[in-house]
């Protein structure tokens, strides 16, 4: 029991996590590249043309995984934030910070591809659909976190303040989503849902899943590589950083 705890906390030290992350980045990059290659092949050559939406529906294979990832990353950030506030580990704050830009990028991509979907399907670039609106608010939450991080110079305060903001955000997300849905049904906008428009065939679902897994591996690779730079930046004064091969050369 106790030895397991010690092991976990050993990896939460930046000095031991840095080389571990360095070994994991290429592995996850390879997985991401392979999965995304397969996913792209499937989305253009295997998945059949949709009888209602023609070839245009293929946007789904980036839109839905990007939207999934943007939500999932926020949850993972909340997990690290809670861990950081409870156990006061330095690494958790760095992980939260390393994930945020990628999450913001996926939220933006979900909106961008949503617009490119909406134009041919609904005739407008933007529809105040409940899901798109919630995604937009999620992007605002990411931007708020990044702005707060940018404004605080003291690392410790930035980590803890950011963690609290993410937790407040994660508590609010269900309330926001519910209220946006309520608002949407009251105003009866074009509530054409994106993914349930036409019946989903198994091959489409598989393609989406493979793309989502590819994005997931990409996120891990990118976040780990970003956290490595953050560790170096923050631990620049320590001897273990100064003795690293890449620093000495």
């Amino acid at each position: 029991m106790s030895s397991r705890f010690i092991n976990w906390f050993k990896f939460s030290s930046p000095a031991t996590f840095y080389p571990l992350a360095g070994r994991m980045v290429p592995v996850f990059s390879l997985i991401a590249a392979a999965l995304i290659a397969v996913g792209l092949y499937m989305s253009f050559f295997v998945a059949p043309t949709d009888y209602k939406q023609g070839e245009g529906y293929r946007i789904i294979f980036v839109h839905v995984p990007a939207a999934w990832m943007s939500m999932f990353i926020y949850l993972v950030m909340a997990f690290w934030a809670a861990l950081g506030l409870v156990f006061n580990t330095r690494l958790s704050g760095m992980m939260t910070r390393a994930l945020a830009p990628t999450g913001a990028i996926f939220a933006f991509l979900a909106l961008w591809t949503g617009a490119f979907w909406g134009k041919p399907m609904w005739g407008t670039w933007w529809v105040w659909d409940a899901r798109l609106t919630s995604e937009l608010i999620l992007l605002f939450l990411y931007l708020g976190y990044l702005a707060l991080q940018g404004a605080i110079d003291d690392n410790r305060r930035a980590d803890r303040a950011g963690a609290l903001l993410v937790l407040v955000g994660v508590v609010n997300i269900p309330i926001i989503h519910y209220s946006v849905k309520w608002w949407n049904t009251l105003h009866q906008g074009a509530s054409v849902s994106i993914s349930s428009g036409s019946s989903m065939s198994a091959i489409m679902l598989w393609t989406m899943l493979i793309m989502a897994l590819g994005f997931w591996a990409y996120t891990i690779a990118v976040a780990l590589s970003r956290v490595r730079s953050i560790i170096l930046e923050r631990e620049a004064d320590t001897t273990w950083v100064q003795e690293l091969a890449e620093v000495r050369s």
Binding site: L141, A151, R157, W183
Partner: protein
Amino acid sequence: MFSAFRTLLGRDLLLAMRRRSDLFTTLFFFVIVVSLFPLGIGPEMNTLRMIAPGVFWVAALLASMLALERLFAIDYEDGALEQMLLTPQPLSLLVLAKVLAHWLVTGLPLVLMAPLLGLQYDLSSEALGVMVVSLLLGTPALSLIGAIGAALTLGLRGGGVLVSLLVLPLYIPVLIFGSGAVEATASGLGGQGHLSMLGAILVLSLLFAPLAASAALRISAE
């Protein structure tokens, strides 16, 4: 414990009375923003009646956000906040007192002013009544949620703009249900459901926001 609450509330109100110009800035901001919309949109009474709930609520959101910056800043600068962190009374109670004082000074005048401004938009007396009730339920929730943002950005450069980035997304449910209540009443559907949702949001923020804000204060003042 409650004497500390009362003392702090009295102190903040007294300080606000000494600086009456602060009190009026928020109110005037609200009045001006609401009065500008007809100038931008045109004096069509039908259009105005339709956009009134949204205009009032967005103006209230912005006004209460503008005032947030001063919520903890003065105490932070003169060191009173540090003393508050050291007192044996629970910090969240003190935060609650400060937020209440802040709302009485900046939120309540705005609620009282709203029906008068509503006449500019030709709202029915029924809709005006619901507007006052919705603002009465909603603006305290705005102050409470805003307190978290104000505490997080304490003493940072560009604090005012930063607060808006952090807090405005969290204001969205209040905006939706607040303006929804007025709109539903104006269109004859009855705003009961919206008002109960606003009440629920107020209760939730009363429970959790002081805790989060005091945690944020501890982080910021460390």
